[in-house]
Chain length 147, copies 8
């Protein structure tokens, strides 16, 4: 069986690459999907549909275009990894976690120890909390092994 | 028809009271539900099940006890109001919004203008963005009127 | 058993009143719900959240506020009556019919004979086609009688 | 990942071909599906099952045969494009949009600016509003790119 | 808790009355629902919508009007009793049983021993096979008792 | 797209072969599935699990083994063809039709004109009524054509 | 809001009474439901339908009659308490827990410390592990308090 | 069609190998999946995420990591085989059976005659009870044969 794993959250460090390369180097049967990770492109996702004078509606249009992608990929994945970094609000990561929880879709959080408390609800509905990409790769290896 | 409205998010201002009183004074057919709003009690929700030496597991236990309540009430509500204030990370509010989005449950966000950009995904899946409790009451009045 | 019947579509004739009065005069166990039927108020449903300079976004905001109501009521109803009159595009009526079809929610169309052909897909998924409010009331009487 | 995109609505202009060719020329991982687009054949879809003397039942039979196709393809698609042109009532397009909305299936509307107002409910539940096939292709390109 | 029990199938003997009276005389917390049991009225359920020259379409129209009732009541019931008598084809009873099976709705069949073999698939998905109305009442009594 | 079509009902005529050969000769993108059609083998499906002294339980065991197959294939199919012949009770065919109806799975009935009336509920929930295998093949051809 | 709490598992100690009395004495808005707790009656639940010579089929018949009750009540409850005592296999308690897990229905396990290891999967999907009925009552009190 | 069969339960005998080899030697179109069957590895599945001082939380972490695998595979399988041996509590096997039952996923139990009574609820919701791996292979052969 091929597993589909969605990578959600922080876009300012290379955690996605570390997980994808770790999985690849071990030959794991995993296909990775992800939200758009180019911050500028993501903010401008709706611009092709026409310019907006209001920041709210420009954001709104782009958010919906991005959601076509993220919603479909979340609904199709077998597992999500949700990463919280140390910059920005990252409400979209928490939103994705809630989305998974409501669908009964398993997810693993990936974050440092210092944000355990504010993330307690998000961690409470997760299947695991990892602190490093290497740990995530180890879990993927364990979970995907054939009988 | 009686509407059930869930009040999610910030617990450090009186926005819940303003909405509940506004709805009551107008005689709207709305029953309000909410997560626990006593911060200390919420953090200690799992303590009755035994003490924990690890902060992670104490938080985990309490988060799950709180989720019995919040998950049930979210699944039963007809509409959620999700409030983002100006303190703390408030990842649980974003988590609730994602939970609603996955269930196809309508929600309204309530926040100031200065956090439009970080909330764009959360607002993108919302049915409305309000800036004041009064606006929320007006929407409730409009939505719940009988034919 | 109390039946909940949603009245969707045309707002420029008194078909809703005819059905509601017909059902009432016969003492049928039916509670009626409906989208907002005041055209002006419906177009302005989102104005309380702030003015918009663009027609598209004003319509968008109001449509979403209206959808909080219509989506909830459609999901809760046992049966919908979808009325197509002879004015305007009435795409929202066809939209509601499709919404019902996808949910497996039974609906009855109410329209004149001259629009049979353009409504064939909408009628094809309906449980009945009626031409007068009196016929709808007769169907409601038959459907709701106790054993 | 291969995306399945359903093309719904107007059959009197070549917007389907423009989108399919645009996607093909850019090598996008998209498979397109569609309702039958031959108007005569669509109206006659049920004739093989026997002639009908009543127009209503002839339309009814054909609509149901067409629905075998459209319902299955809508349920399987990842995204729908719903096109409203300037001729006919096009209630089937609005019906398809409502069908998608109830399933939580994302859709993009494609129509000119002059019908914004009558389409406000349909647009309100859409993920985007496009005015040209080129814009749709751009969105498809953005949405389907690999991480 | 109040149980809703749907009585499906044969309309030419008084098995419904026996079960309803048995439940009533024991004070069981059960509300009974049923398809229309007046054969003539059931066949004519669609006639109010206009006469049909074709037997197929007259039956079709009436069947759909009847289905508004039966489908809703089946989806709402907690348990169905499906009765097969010794006359007619009774395909609608088997249809109702299959409908329940697909929804995961428990049902009890009520029929004589001589039709065990042709009913084996219908009985195979049932929760029990009863031969008399008295047995059904006994099961209802057992199932609905409070803790 | 490859369509999966389930063939349900009568096992004493060669209608399945006619449909499968018709579809094959036209190169239609259809994979056919079916319940077991060997009457003896079907009745004995549970015998490998041990002999039963009671006819009811022998039938019960075999019916459940058969249901592993039929239930899975029905849930996976895109369309079912439900055939009623002129022998036996054929309650399993009506059961399969009800199963499809509850899942919102489209089905076509295939039967002669003389049983229109007893099949009215089954036909009422069907997408089409065909009288010959050739008609079914024509519908399949129409439904499965590529855009 | 009134909460419905299902009490599953061990029937040889008075834990149900302790929880029900604790909740009652505190005036909690909870309605309790439960499987049948009379062991003899539960084993004989199907006997009214006729005697069986085989132990397997007698058990089978009774289990299915019991399941009419337990399945309905589990699907309707807001929360389940699953109790594992120190006697018998209690596979039905673990079965109920798995049933809840698949439905996304929250449950609390109630058992002593010495069976933590064999119950790890059951506890892993639970919202809380309690060791005494008093703890369960405290959780119910916390979870059901009004805003 | 390729069938996916999940093998749940006892890990201390070679029943999985017998079924897999039996299916392979007969060329059946079956892909087998399974929970992790290495007892030590399963207990240590969460250790990579950090050591725990409490047995409960070590078990909890490992159970959740294991559940990522088992939950996904159960939800994807077409059929589960649930084996109860003569050692240990095996509550996870009963849990998996309940999980399948709630999803409407067919399963076959595999166990000796002496535990019929304690397994009556688990067997009551099963599609078959087998006593040997050879019987399971025979059922798989019957169920998976092409039309």
């Amino acid at each position: 069986m091929q597993w589909q794993v969605y990578l959600s959250g922080e876009i300012h460090s290379d955690w996605r690459q570390q997980i994808m390369q770790g999985a690849k180097s071990q030959g794991l049967p995993v296909e990775f999907t992800s939200a758009a990770t180019d911050h500028e492109a993501s903010d401008a996702a709706g611009d092709v549909l026409g310019a907006e004078s209001s920041n709210f509606w420009r954001d709104h249009k782009s958010a919906k275009v991005n959601a076509i992608r993220s919603k479909s990929l979340l609904e199709q994945c077998d597992l999500a990894i949700v990463r919280f970094g140390d910059r920005y609000k990252q409400w979209n990561a928490a939103f994705d976690a809630g989305f998974c929880a409501a669908l009964g879709k398993p997810y693993i959080t990936l974050h440092d120890e210092d944000i355990i408390h504010p993330l307690k609800e998000v961690d409470g509905a997760a299947m695991a909390w990892a602190q490093t990409p290497e740990q995530v790769v180890e879990i993927l290896k364990y979970v995907t092994q054939e009988p």
